[in-house]
């Protein structure tokens, strides 16, 4: 107890010195928090953007469709499948897609596309297509189509232009149908924009002369931690001809990229902590050197070296704890500010877009990270204080007192 008070008082004896250490700790921790926020923000936005764009959390197809992508490989008994999905508690929302490989032609050129027929209301609850419209409107009127900006440029068409879709119907005969461009969308992934067009399921039903076949159901779930469990249980409840997959199964490349980003970022974070460690050690070392005379006197009047050691460690702990609180506050403030404000990386936005990362970066932190980082910070400051403390206890009292500052 005595030591605690002694150490606490020592800290405030030289306010300037303590302030420097405190500031170094605070800045270090704030920087750490902010970088973790950036990392998480980057990872999350990459994944979220793909999930929002159309990946969803979970997807359902027939195994045959996964292999061949043919129009006749649609999900059987769609109503009962939807019933199972609707009943499952972790499912937040779902949407159904008819997907047909076909061609979109303008007068100048034709291009191979995936024709996705949607139910516009269901779609809104699952994917961000409706929010990605940059020109015109979402699907409202019959025979309207929304296409990606990239495809619109390739076909040299504009809003309200005529686009002819052609695709093989259920019997293999090719169907030609004209659509009017109601809206042009632009997502973070230009490849997606060049490949996909959206029409109404009702229009497709009319063209096919039968209920539009559903090839794909996309689900959003409430809890990402339960994803594997939800996937497995849905698979269990549905016939085995239907394949239930999570986004990780469907997009292994995104997972790899995300994991690599995560790894490099962890290395950088380690380096930042390392830099902080040395900054602190140096500052503490200076502070010890500055107080050589004091320590000399203390040792001369009979203070135990062990006690002196723990006093220095305690001082450093107090400092880092106080600094830690300030640091967490600053870091939290920074993250909160940029969480709403965003950091604009638009200088390289074209690249980010190709990568599927939105050009605005919104740092984000899971609340447990604050605790973890504070613990790491305190550990760092104890390690940092070790060397100076050892130096201090090795002083010879007489030499130390003689030392002129």
């Amino acid at each position: 107890m005595m030591m605690l008070i002694f150490a606490w008082k020592n800290i405030w004896r030289n306010k300037k010195r303590s302030f420097i250490i405190l500031a170094a700790t605070a800045i270090g921790l704030a920087a750490g928090i902010f970088s973790v926020g950036l990392m998480t923000g980057m990872y999350d936005s990459m994944v979220d953007s793909a999930i929002n764009r159309g990946l969803g959390n979970i997807q359902l197809h027939t195994t045959a469709y996964k292999r061949d992508q043919l129009i006749r490989q649609y999900l059987p008994n769609i109503d009962s499948v939807v019933q199972v999905i609707k009943k499952y508690p972790d499912v937040k929302s779902y949407t159904t897609h008819s997907i047909i490989e076909g061609m979109a032609s303008s007068a100048t050129i034709a291009s191979g596309v995936s024709i996705v027929a949607i139910d516009p209301e269901l779609e809104k609850s699952v994917t961000a297509v409706s929010k990605s419209i940059v020109e015109g409107t979402y699907l409202e009127k019959p025979n309207s189509i929304i296409i990606g900006k990239k495809l619109a440029d390739k076909l040299k068409i504009k809003l309200r232009s005529r686009v002819v879709l052609s695709f093989a119907g259920m019997d293999g005969n090719i169907i030609y149908a004209a659509f009017r461009v109601a809206g042009i969308f632009k997502t973070d992934a230009s490849l997606f924009d060049g490949m996909n067009v959206f029409i109404l399921q009702n229009d497709l039903s009319t063209l096919l002369g039968t209920q539009a076949p559903i090839h794909e159901i996309i689900l959003r779930t409430h809890n990402s931690l339960l994803l594997e469990q939800t996937k497995n249980e849905l698979q269990h409840q549905l016939p085995s001809s239907i394949l239930v997959e999570s986004w990780r199964d469907i997009s292994p490349d995104m997972k790899l990229t995300a994991d690599i980003t995560d790894l490099t970022n962890m290395i950088f974070l380690g380096m930042i902590l390392f830099a902080l460690l040395f900054g602190l050690t140096n500052t503490l070392m200076m502070s010890v050197l500055d107080r050589v005379r004091d320590f000399g006197v203390l040792l001369a009047v009979g203070m135990y070296r062990r006690r002196l050691f723990s006093m220095i460690i305690l001082e450093s702990l107090f400092l880092s704890f106080t600094g830690g609180i300030v640091g967490v506050l600053i870091g939290w403030g920074l993250v909160q500010y940029f969480k709403t404000q965003g950091i604009d990386l638009s200088v390289v936005s074209k690249g980010l877009s190709a990568y599927g990362i939105p050009s605005m970066l919104y740092p984000y932190i899971r609340s447990n990270v604050y605790g973890e980082l504070t613990v790491m910070m305190i550990a760092t400051s104890i390690i940092a204080a070790m060397y100076p403390a050892i130096k201090a206890v090795r002083l010879k009292p007489v030499d130390a007192i003689r030392t002129i500052a």
Partner: protein, 246 residues
């Protein structure tokens, strides 16, 4: 192979005066559709760096069925293309196999020409899919022609913004067609010329397709022989028959 024969929309017999644009076209088409033809054609593909000629024999029942048998060049001799409604099949003599062209291959060029497989099968009825307007009369390729404008109906599956066509007044030969996009930019032109008598019908024996977005490219057809009302039925256009025709 409707595209190849688009110039054949003629009617020698009918000569009338006050007709609507639709009637003019209707007459030509009435006579063309359901016609059973046999023809010998040489197609010449002109690219900026090379030209190539392909000779072929073709049997057709317009608009749904055709078989094209390649006679030259030697490397391609014996290749057969079968069109049944919207499907295209190929017989490959070197491997003795038939392959159906999948929808994803429909954008590929047919025999290296400016036509795609899709052009061969793309179904659009000049009567049903368009609104027609007689713009007036004009000289074209030395003939006095009707100039007719075709505007696609909103729901029709055609890509053009409009088509302008010239049909000779007396002979009902379709001598020229201009295809425009929705902004009124000319995208491709087809011109027929050198009329000859074929099996009692006067028809352009030479025609050219010029894609305006690909400078230096051109595909032309020279009709050497054309017989009408030959003795064939739709059964003739079977996959099995592809390997037998000569």
């Amino acid at each position: 192979m409707k595209t190849f024969f688009i110039f054949c929309l003629i009617n020698l017999a009918s000569i009338s005066s006050a007709q609507t644009a639709k009637e003019i076209l209707q007459k030509a088409i009435d006579l063309m559709y359901g016609k059973k033809t046999y023809s010998v054609i040489t197609m010449t593909i002109t690219k900026p760096t090379w030209t190539r000629s392909v000779s072929m024999k073709a049997w057709s029942i317009e608009p749904d069925y055709s078989i094209v048998y390649i006679t030259e060049p030697a490397r391609d001799k014996g290749s057969v293309t079968l069109k049944r409604k919207t499907e295209v099949w190929n017989w490959i003599p070197t491997v003795q196999k038939t392959i159906k062209i999948p929808p994803s291959m429909m954008l590929a060029s047919w025999m290296g020409s400016d036509f795609t497989n899709d052009d061969l099968v793309r179904q659009s009825s000049v009567i049903k899919d368009y609104d027609h307007k007689l713009l007036g009369e004009e000289q074209c390729e030395g003939y006095n022609c009707y100039k007719i404008e075709l505007i696609p109906k909103p729901e029709a599956g055609v890509v053009w913004g409009k088509i302008i066509t010239w049909i000779s007044k007396k002979e009902y030969m379709q001598l020229k067609e201009e295809f425009y996009d929705e902004d009124g930019v000319l995208v491709r032109t087809m011109v027929g010329s050198k009329p000859k008598m074929f099996d009692g019908h006067l028809l352009p024996s030479y025609s050219e397709m010029i894609p305006h977005n690909k400078p230096g490219n051109k595909t032309s057809f020279e009709t050497k022989e054309l017989d009408f009302d030959i003795d064939i039925t739709p059964d003739f256009f079977s996959i099995q028959n592809m390997s037998r025709v000569k």
